[in-house]
C-alpha cells in the first residue's frame, strides 16, 4: 500500500513520519503484534520442555521458528483459513520438523496467546517508549519551573487577573500533575497480566497434561516477566488494561490542559510565551504575519480524538459468559492511543525546550492589574488587625476605585475608618501593599519543593 493511500492520519502523517517511528513500531505495529505472539508461543514451548512434555531440542526448534515468522505470511495463511492465531501456529509449524509440529501452540487457546502477548507488548511499550518520553518531558518542565521560579506573573482565575504567582510556579503545577500520571502509568503497567488457562479459563486441556496447570501457567508468565491473571475466562479480565488506559488517557488530559494554558498565554493580547518559529515556516496561507500556536493546538486536537476512546475501553469490559468476540476488533485500535500520547509528549517536549518566555510582557500584564491586586492582602491584614467586616469594606472600595479610576490603596489611605487599622500594619505588610509583586506568597519555595518531591518520587 502506498502510504498516502492509508486512511489513518497516524499512519500517513504522524506516526510513520516521526523520527521515533522505528522505536514505536517495535511495540505498536501489526508486525509487533505478531512478533510478540510468536514470543509467547516460544515461551510455551520452553515450558512444555521444562515439564517434559516435549524435548529441549523441540522447544529450541520451535523458538527458532517463532523468530522467523512474519506478519505477511501469517496474513496470507489467515486469508485461507480465516483464523488469525491458528494461522500463526500453522506458519510456525511449517518451519519445524514432524516431531515438533504437535507441540506448537500445544494445549493453548488463541487468547492464551493474544492476551498474554498484548500485556507484554503494552508493558514494553510503556517501559521502553512512553515512560521514557514522559520522564524526559517531566525533566524539561522541571528545568523550566526552576529557571522561571522567580519570574513574577499574574495568576489568572476565570481568565481574570487574580493574584501574583511566578511563571515557574505555574509550570510546577504541571510538573506535579504529570509526575502523578507517570506514577499512575508505572503502577498500572505492572498490573498487566497474561493467562494460560485455556478456552474457558478452567485449564480444561492443560489438566489432561499437567498435574498442576496453574503452576504451568505461572511458569510461562515467569518466563515472560508477567503476572498471571488471578482469574481469567477465555480472556484476561478487562480491568488491568482499563486501568492502564485510564492512566494514559488522564495523562493526556494533563497535556491538553497544559497546551490550552500555553496557547492562551500566546494570545496576541497576552503574548507571555512563544512557540519557536523556523525561518522558512509559513504561519498562514493568506496572512503572512501570523505565528500560530500550532503545536499546542495539535496536542489539544489529539486529546479530543483519543480521550473519547475510553468509552470503547469501558464497553469492552462487557464480554458475555466466558467471552464473546466483540472486543476483538476494537482492542486492535489500542496501540493508537499509546502512539498518540507518545507523539504529543515528544511534541510538547520539543516545543517547550525552545519556548520563549517574554518577561517584558509578563511584567506589563502584571503591572496593568497591580492597582487592584492589593484588595486581598488589604482585606486580610485589616481582618488580622481586628476589622470585623473587612471583605465587604474592601469590596466596596474596589467598586469605587473602578468607578473613579483611582488606585485602591490611594482610596484606602484616604478612608477615615481604615486609617486606624493601617497604622497597625508592620513595615513588611505595608511593603507588600505598596509593591504587589512581592505578594507572591510561597510561589518560589513551593516551586522548589514540588520539583524536589517529584525528583525523589520518580527517581530522576
Amino acid at each position: 500500500m502506498d502510504s498516502f493511500d492509508a486512511i489513518s492520519p497516524l499512519d500517513y502523517r504522524y506516526y510513520s513520519r516521526d523520527k521515533n517511528f522505528e522505536l514505536l513500531k517495535q511495540f505498536l505495529s501489526e508486525n509487533a503484534r505478531i512478533k510478540y505472539q510468536a514470543k509467547v508461543e516460544a515461551a510455551l514451548a520452553k515450558v512444555l520442555a521444562k515439564n517434559k512434555i516435549c524435548s529441549e531440542k523441540i522447544a529450541n526448534e520451535i523458538a527458532k521458528a517463532c523468530e522467523k515468522v512474519s506478519a505477511k505470511e501469517v496474513y496470507e495463511e489467515e486469508d485461507k483459513i480465516r483464523h488469525d492465531v491458528r494461522a500463526l501456529a500453522n506458519k510456525i509449524r511449517e518451519k519445524v520438523g514432524e516431531e515438533a509440529k504437535p507441540f506448537v501452540h500445544f494445549s493453548s487457546t488463541s487468547y492464551d496467546i493474544v492476551d498474554t502477548a498484548n500485556a507484554l507488548r503494552f508493558k514494553d511499550a510503556a517501559e521502553q517508549a512512553l515512560l521514557p518520553a514522559l520522564l524526559e518531558f517531566e525533566k524539561t518542565l522541571m528545568e523550566l519551573a526552576l529557571r522561571e521560579k522567580e519570574t513574577v506573573q499574574i495568576g489568572r482565575t476565570h481568565g481574570q487577573h487574580a493574584e501574583p504567582i511566578t511563571f515557574g510556579f505555574a509550570i510546577a503545577s504541571y510538573v506535579s500533575r504529570l509526575g502523578g500520571r507517570i506514577k499512575a502509568i508505572q503502577y498500572a503497567k505492572e498490573n498487566l497480566c497474561g493467562k494460560f488457562s485455556g478456552a474457558v479459563g478452567a485449564y480444561n486441556a492443560a489438566s489432561l497434561l499437567f498435574e498442576n496447570p496453574m503452576e504451568f501457567e505461572a511458569e510461562i508468565m515467569k518466563e515472560l516477566g508477567l503476572k498471571a491473571s488471578v482469574s481469567s475466562t477465555q480472556i484476561v479480565e478487562a480491568e488491568p488494561l482499563a486501568d492502564l488506559m485510564h492512566a494514559i488517557v488522564s495523562c493526556f488530559g494533563v497535556l491538553a490542559n497544559f497546551s490550552d494554558d500555553m496557547r492562551n498565554l500566546q494570545r496576541s493580547e497576552i503574548a507571555e510565551i512563544g512557540e519557536e518559529f523556523s525561518a522558512r515556516q509559513v504561519g498562514s496561507s493568506t496572512m503572512p504575519q501570523k505565528r500560530n500556536p500550532i503545536n499546542f493546538e495539535n496536542v489539544k486536537s489529539f486529546w479530543k480524538q483519543f480521550m473519547p476512546r475510553m468509552n470503547t475501553v469501558y464497553m469492552d469490559q462487557i464480554s458475555e459468559h466466558q467471552r464473546d468476540l466483540t472486543n476483538s476488533a476494537s482492542q486492535r485500535f489500542l496501540p493508537e492511543i499509546f502512539a498518540a500520547l507518545f507523539l504529543s509528549t515528544k511534541r510538547l517536549d520539543r516545543v517547550v525546550s525552545k519556548m520563549s518566555v517574554d518577561k517584558a510582557n509578563m511584567k506589563k500584564n502584571f503591572e496593568n492589574s497591580k492597582g487592584m491586586l492589593v484588595a486581598e492582602p488589604l482585606y486580610i491584614l485589616l481582618a488580622k488587625h481586628g476589622h470585623s467586616n473587612a471583605h465587604e469594606t474592601v469590596r466596596e472600595l474596589t467598586l469605587k476605585a473602578q468607578a473613579e479610576k483611582k488606585s485602591l490603596m490611594g482610596l484606602a489611605k484616604e478612608n477615615k475608618e481604615l486609617a486606624g487599622f493601617l497604622k497597625k500594619f508592620s513595615k513588611e505588610q505595608l511593603e507588600i501593599l505598596e509593591n504587589p509583586e512581592k505578594y507572591v506568597g510561597q510561589a518560589v519555595v513551593k516551586t522548589k519543593k514540588i520539583v524536589e518531591h517529584w525528583k525523589k518520587e520518580l527517581g530522576i
Copy 2:
C-alpha cells in the same frame, strides 16, 4: 512503510485488504484529500478567469497542474515550510508558468480549500460508496424479509418468549430502521457546504478583487456542486458535518443492534440462524467443533470503536473566535468512520446474503412456549366479552399452569368462572387459542407494507 508496520487496524487489516479498497481510497485516503484540495484550487482558477481576474489560458494551465499534484511531493514541501496548504499551492505553482503563478490559490485562505474539499469528498464518499453499499444491504434485507414473511418465530422481549411474530417481520423492522438512516444520510450529505470567505469569514481579501465576493464564492461552489455556507468564519460552521456524522453513527447503531440480534439467534440453545462457514475455516484454535458468529461480533466491535468518536465531533464544534486549530488533527480521522461503516455494511450484506435460517429450530423454540402464549389472547378475548378483571385472572392462571406444569388453555377450560365466557368466543377466536402459531397478528401484512414503503421512499 511496510503495511504491517502500520498502526491502524483499518490500514493493515480491514480497509487495505478489502476488495473495495480501490473505491474507498478515492475519497478517504490522504491521496484523495489532496486530490480534492487540488480540485478546489482548479475550480478557483476557473472562476477567477470567469471574473476576468486571470485569463482562461492561465486557468486551464492551473487546472492541469492541479491534476498532476501528488501527495508525496506536497508532503515533501510541507516538511520544508511546515504548512500543508501552502505546500500544495507551492507544488501547483511549480507546475505553471510565471504568469500563472500569482493566480494559484489566489486570495484564498487555507480553509477555503480544506473545508470545501472535505465537504466535496465526504459528499462523494456518501454518494458513491456509502449510500450504494447501504442500499444494497437494504435490498438484501428486503428480500430476506419477504422470503421469510410467513416463517413463524417466537417474538422475544427481555430475552423471554413473548408473542408470535414471523422472522420476516423481525427483519422488516431493520429494513425500516436502515431505510430511515439511509434517508438521514441522504439528507445530511446534501447540506454539506463549502466556503470561500477568507481568513476570518468576512471576504476581506476577496473584497479587494471583486464587486460581489459572495457571488464569487457562490460561483465556485456551483462549479463544484456544493452549497455555500450561510455564514462561515475561517471555517465552515461545524454543524452540517456533525449532522452527517450523526446520521452515520446512528446508522452504525442500527447495524450493531441487528448484529446483536443475529448473534443471539445463533446461540447454541437458540440456533435459529447460522453464518455460512467455509470448509477450510477454523472456528477456534483449540475447539475444532466451534462455529462462531464472528462477523456479527466484528460489526458490534467496530461500532464500539467508532460510536464514541461522536464525542470528538461534538467537541470540535467548539472553535474559538474566528477559529482555532484544535479541530485540525482530530478532523483528519473522520474518513475512518466512513470506512468503518462501509466495511461493516458490506460485511453484513455478505453474511446475510448467505445466512441460513433454521426453520426447524425456529419451530421447535416456538413450540416450547406455545402453551403459555395464549395468555394474552385469552385475556383480551375474555375482556372483549365482558370479563372485568381478565388480566389478573389470567395472570393467576399462568402461575398455576407453571406450578402444576399444565397447559393454560386446559386450566382455562376447567375453570368454571371462565366457562361462560369461553362459550361466547367465535370459531376463529377459539382457533387462535388452540393454534397459537396463528396468533401472529399483522406480521405478514406489515412486513409487506414496510418493504413497499421503503422501496418507494428510497426509489429502489
Copy 3:
C-alpha cells in the same frame, strides 16, 4: 423529600429554583410523565369508542379518570405490584365503574403508552418551552449583531490577531449557527412518533379486536397529533428520538462555543465585553475585586455534563429482538437534557441582553495589531498587480518588521522592488493599506444578510 436532600443539582439548584420551573415541570417532571401517559390512555379509550369497542360514555368516564390520576398514587400502587404502567392502569380503573374497567388500557402493551407519551411530551417540551426560549435568544443575538454591525473588532484565529471584522459580524455567525440548530430541532421534533402495535409490534392483540389494527393505531396518533411509527417492535425505533437528542446536543455545542468566545473576550487583557454585575454580587470569597464570567462558565460546564449523554442515546439504540428493558432507566434521564439546554439558553439570553460592549478596548486591541494587518491586503494587491511571489515577499517583510519593530507599510514603501507595484494601486486600495480598520470586507453587509436570512427561515 426536603429539596436539599435531593441529589441532582438540576433538582435542588437549577431547575427547581428557576423562574421557568412551572413551565418546565409540565413536560419534564415525573408528574408530567404520568400525566402524559394518562392522556394517551384517554385517547385510547376515545378511539375504542369510535370503533364501537366500548360506548362513548365509558370513554368519557375513562378520560375523566385519566385527568385525576396522580403520580403519587401510581407510585404507591407500583410499590405493591412492581409494574409502573400496570399501576397506572389500576389507578385509572379504580376511578371508573365496573362496566368501564375492562376498557382501561385495553389491548395495549406498556410501551404503547410509554413511548407514545414520551414522544408527545418531548414534542410539547420542544414546541412550548425549548424552541420559544431558543427563538428569544436568537432575537437577542440578532439585535446585538445589528447594533454592533459596524463596531470594528480584530478577528482572531488561533488566538492571534488575524484580520479585521466587526463585532456584529462575529455575533452573526452565532445567529446563523443557532438558527440552523433551531431548524434542526423543529425538523426532528416533527418526526417523533408514537405506536400502538402491541407487545411485539405485530398488532397481535389488536388483531383480535379490529379489522384494521394499523388504522386503529393511526386514529390514536391523530387524536394526539403524532405520527405513527412506520415500524415498531414493542417500542418505537430509537432513531427519531436520537435525531432530536442530536439536534439538542449539537445546539448545546453552539452555546458552549459562544460562551467560550465571550469569556475569552472578557479576559483581563482583552476586556472587550462584560457580564453585568449586580451591586451586591460577590465575585470571589477572597478577592473582592474579581468580576468573573460565571454565566458563560456555567453554560460551558453544563455542556460538559450533558454532551456525553449522547453516548447513552447511541447505546440505547441497541435493544435485543423485539426489545429488552435496558433502555428503560436510562431514558428516564432524557428530560434532564431538555432542561439543561433550556436553562442555559435562558441564562445566555439574560446575560447577553445586558452584556456591555467595551468599544474603547475593542479599538485599543485592534490598534495594537494594526501595523501588521496590512500584510494580507498588501500581498493580495501586489499579486493582483502582477507580482509573482507576493506572499513570500510579504512574509519576509513581516519578519523584518517584527525584528526591527518597524511598520510593515513603512518597510514596503522603502522597498525598491515593490515601488513599481505600489504606484499601480488605486486610491481606495491605498486607503485600506493606510487605514486597516477599513479592511473589514463584507462584514457589515454579511451581518445584515445573515440576520435577514434567518428572520425569514425562522419566521421571526
Copy 4:
C-alpha cells in the same frame, strides 16, 4: 418541591425511595455538601486557634455555628449575594459574636473549602456507603460461587457451547473482578486530597499570617483526616478524583457484565437461573405469563446512563491557568454516580441472594452439546500421544459428525487412523472422553482458590 415535580429519576424514583436513602443523603445530598463545607470551616477555625490567630473560645464558637448552618439559609443568602461559599461564610458569621466574625472563613478562598469538603465527603461516601455495599455483594457472590462450585455448566464463548465449567467457577470470575475493583476504589479514595493554598495556590494570603503556610495547610488536613495536595492552584489537581471516578465507573462495568450474563442465562431457551418473582408482581401489562429479568436490565441501563459521564470527568481535567469555573456545575453531578453504583450494587445483592439456579436446565443444556465437547480433549490427547496433525483431523471429524448427525467419539472409534492412538489412552483419559462432564479442568479447585485469594486480600 413536590418530589414528583423533580426531574432526576434518581431523586423521584431511585435514590429517594430506596431504603438506604438516609445513609446516602449524609454524603450525597446538597445538605451534605453544605454540612461538609461547614465542617471544613470549623476545622479552619480550630487550626487558626492552634496557631494563635484567634482564641480557642472563638474557634469553638465558630465550630458550633458551623454545626447549625442549614442548606436552606445558605441558599437564601446566595440568592442575594450570588456567591455560594461567601453565602455560607455569611451565615456562619451571623451566628457568632463580633469578635469571632473576622475569623470565619479567614484567609481562605472558596475552593479551599469546596474541594476539601468534596474530598472528605467522597472519601466518607466510599468508606461508609459504597465499599460496605460492594463488600456485602462480594460476600454474596463468594457464597454462591462456593455453593455452586461443582454444578457443571457448559462454558460459552461467542454464545456457543465451548467446554464444561461449573456455575460456581463462572461466578468466581466475578468475585475476582469485583474484588479487584473494590481494591481500586479503596486505593483511589485514600489518594483524595484537600488544599488550603488560597486563591491561586501560592498561599498568598496565608503568607501574611503564618510563618509556614504549608504547615498550616497540613494541620487542617490532619484535623480532617485527609492528605494535602502536593500541588494545587485555586483547586486541587483533577487527577485524584478522576482516578476514583475511574475505579467507580469500571466497577460499574463489572456489574453490567455480570448483569448481561445473568439475563442471558435467564433467556427462555437457556433458563439456567431466575430472578425471584413476588406473588403480586406483574411481569407485563399485556402478557400475564411474562417473567422479565428487570433487575439485571436495570443495572445495565444504569451503567449506560452513568458510564459516559467519565467523559465529563476527563473534560473537567482542563481548567485554564490557575483555574476557570467550567468544572463547577459539572462536578456538582458527581454524587449521582456514587449513588447509581451504590443502588445497582444493592439491587444485585438483593437479587443474587434470592436467585434460583435451575440445575436441571443447566444439565439439559450441557447434555445437548456433550457429543461435540470431546473435540478438544480428543485432539489434545491425540497430539500428546504423538499425532502430528490432531487439530485438523478432529476438525474434519466434527464436520462429519455434524453432517451425519453422529457422535464424535463414535466416529473416532470407527476411524482406522486413530485406532492406534486411542489404544494408548489411559483409563482416566478415556473416562473423560466418555463422560465430558468430567472435563471441567480446575474449575472446582480454582473457584476455591479465587475465593480464598479475595477473602485474604479484602480482609473478609
